[in-house]
Amino acid sequence: MSAADTTTPAKVPPARQAPPPPPAAKERARNGQRPGGAGAAVPWALLAPCLLVLVLVLGYPLARLVTLSFQEFGQSQLWGFLPAEFVGLGNFTEVLGDGEFWTVVLRTVVFAAGCVVFTMVAGMLIALLLQQVSGWVKILVNIALVASWGMPIIVATTVFKWLFDADYGILNALLSKLPGVEMIGHNWFASGPEGLAVIMLLVVWGAVPFVVITLSAGLTQVPKEMVEAARLDGAGAWGVFRYVTLPILKPVIVMLTTLSVIWDMGVFPQVFVMRNGHPEAEFQLLTTYSYDKAFVVNDYAQGSAIALLTVVLLLGVVAVYMRQMLKIGDVE
């Protein structure tokens, strides 16, 4: 910063003799970068290792995912006893014609939507709350948030498993203290919806801190003058939020929401570990369903088809996210 400050005054005030050298130097630099010149090789050379890794370990499997989903690929193909045969849309028709698949899709969408809505609403409320509380409360909340954000997912899942344990879990013990409630021995995972609600709580608990911290950073950028002006014009707390805060935060909110959708559609370890590696039919989400088809039933082709359908399902959300990110890329 200080160096920038020293160069700016040199450029602006005095005679016209001083400025010319920098533009000339700049132009030389720019020329070097123009495509077609020798300079175009430099950025590509810098990118080469990165692109190489990505193409090799991501591009190739991605292509393989697509081809796999059009093939017959089971145990015998994996061991090389049989060649992988091309079956056209066979896997897709089979998957799409399966009623269970649609149940899983619906369950996944409801689950992810619930996670995203709760995460965003709770995140926004806590971020707004943090603006109102005293400094020491803010520090306490921040410590708790960062600790829960930093917890490895597996650890968090294990801890929640313990909190919700049927016999010795603290939650059942605490609930039983309420008059008229007898929860000891209540198995939260006996039914799918209830168990998934617990898993949703776990996901939201882990996701809220990122949202709060990002939104808090965004809130500090809301100009105080605008808030004051809105107040003078008679806006209440809700009016200020609706017409000043929200529009300013919109890009951040869009980004957080799309990211949350992508993350919450991809929830896997939480369900997998919660159900000890064998999620019951009532707990299957698209991710675990695809995993099950591939590695339990050993039908890798159908598993790939389901994975591919998940990606397609996400494309709309991803498009919004990409547009937002590219806007950022342009601003610089």
């Binding site: 910063m1 130097a25 970068q33 430099v42 950025p43 590509w44 810098l46 990118l47 290792p49 990165c50 692109l51 890794v53 990505l54 370990v57 393989r64 995912l65 994996l78 603006q131 109102q132 400094g135 409360v137 306490l140 909340v141 921040n142 960062v146 600790a147 829960s148 930093g150 917890m151 490895p152 997912i153 650890v155 968090a156 294990t158 801890v159 313990w162 344990d165 016999d167 010795y168 603290i170 013990a173 000891i184 801190p209 911290i213 950073a217 500090t220 890009p251 992508i262 991809g266 896997f268 370890p269 590696g277 695809s290 995993y291 790939s304 990606v311 991803v318 990110m325 590219l326 610089e332």
Partner: protein, 293 residues
């Protein structure tokens, strides 16, 4: 710690101005804030509480909310149940390798897309963003088949290469954010003063980028360390990593929760501490552009 207090200081700045005109009592808000603190912090507290209390107290049908004693026997038991240091060593090897390779490759790529204007730049940016969007779970089947074909199944190198695919795009994008925030004029000034382009980078940009690189490295390390699915799928039982070790934490006698919480504590505390140091920088780096836009 410093990060948290730093954060609060930026946050409290606007507060006094707001307090004066309204003079609304804060006690209600503070109470609500404390409630959030208790709710958000409770799982962490309960993990620590269970880890340090005698194992017998952990299965008390009427558990006390407060510590009932201090013992380290649960940690000993956790270490006994199955090999702990082997998985930790493997996790460390993998995470460190991923960070080192990811940083070297990532800085070069981030420089290319943030400091050079060239044809195809936008395509590269879109590509790097797009690959971030592919759910990792969807890729597990072909990655498994690929590593199987390459003879890298159940090898640490296979796991390292796989992790690079999700660490790299993230690293490149985050570092790009940090580089963009370093004024170009600094470099240009150095070049006017006779530095070569590479010299300007090493002497001017690199020192300014270093804190961002440290934060990104730590974050990447945490990501690699926490990964579960690929570690589970691509490694066999005797080569498991730390997360899988914890995920499989059951014995013949069922789940022993107190040692399991001790194991969780051992896994979580170093990571949370690392995380404390970088979270502010990372949150800022990830969203710096978003607010401007």
């Amino acid at each position: 710690m410093s990060s948290v207090s730093g954060m609060s200081s930026t946050g409290t700045a606007p507060a006094p101005a707001r307090r004066k005109p309204h003079g609304r009592p804060r006690a209600g808000w503070n109470l609500l804030g404390l409630l959030v603190f208790l709710t958000a912090g409770f799982p962490v507290y309960w993990m620590l509480n269970t880890a340090f209390k005698p194992a017998a107290d952990a299965i008390d049908p009427d558990p006390s909310l407060f510590p009932t004693g201090l013992t380290f026997s649960n940690f000993g038991r956790a270490l006994d149940i199955s090999d702990f240091w082997g998985p930790v060593g493997r996790s460390l090897t993998v995470s460190l390798a991923v960070v080192v390779v990811g940083m070297v490759v990532g800085v070069l790529a981030a420089l290319a897309i943030s400091r050079f204007a060239f044809r195809g730049r936008k395509v590269v940016i879109v590509g790097i963003l797009a690959v971030q969007m592919v759910p990792l779970v969807a890729m597990i089947i072909p990655v498994f088949l690929l590593l199987n074909d390459l003879g890298q199944y159940d090898r640490l190198t296979g796991l390292i290469i796989t992790y690079l695919t999700f660490i790299l795009p993230f690293t490149v994008w985050t570092l790009r954010g940090f580089i963009v925030n370093i004024p170009k004029e600094l470099e240009e000034a150095a070049m006017v003063d006779g530095c070569s382009r590479a010299g300007a980078f090493v002497r001017v940009v690199f020192p300014l980028l270093a804190p961002g690189m440290v934060a990104t490295s730590v974050y990447a390390f945490i990501q690699a360390w926490n990964e579960y699915l690929y570690a589970l799928m691509l490694m066999s039982q005797q080569n498991q990593t730390a997360t899988v070790w914890l995920g499989n934490f059951t014995t013949k006698h069922g789940t022993e929760y107190a040692p399991m919480m001790a194991g969780s504590t051992m896994m979580a505390v170093p990571i949370v501490i690392l995380f404390l140091f970088v979270q502010r920088k990372m949150a800022a780096g990830l969203t710096a552009g978003a607010v401007k836009g």
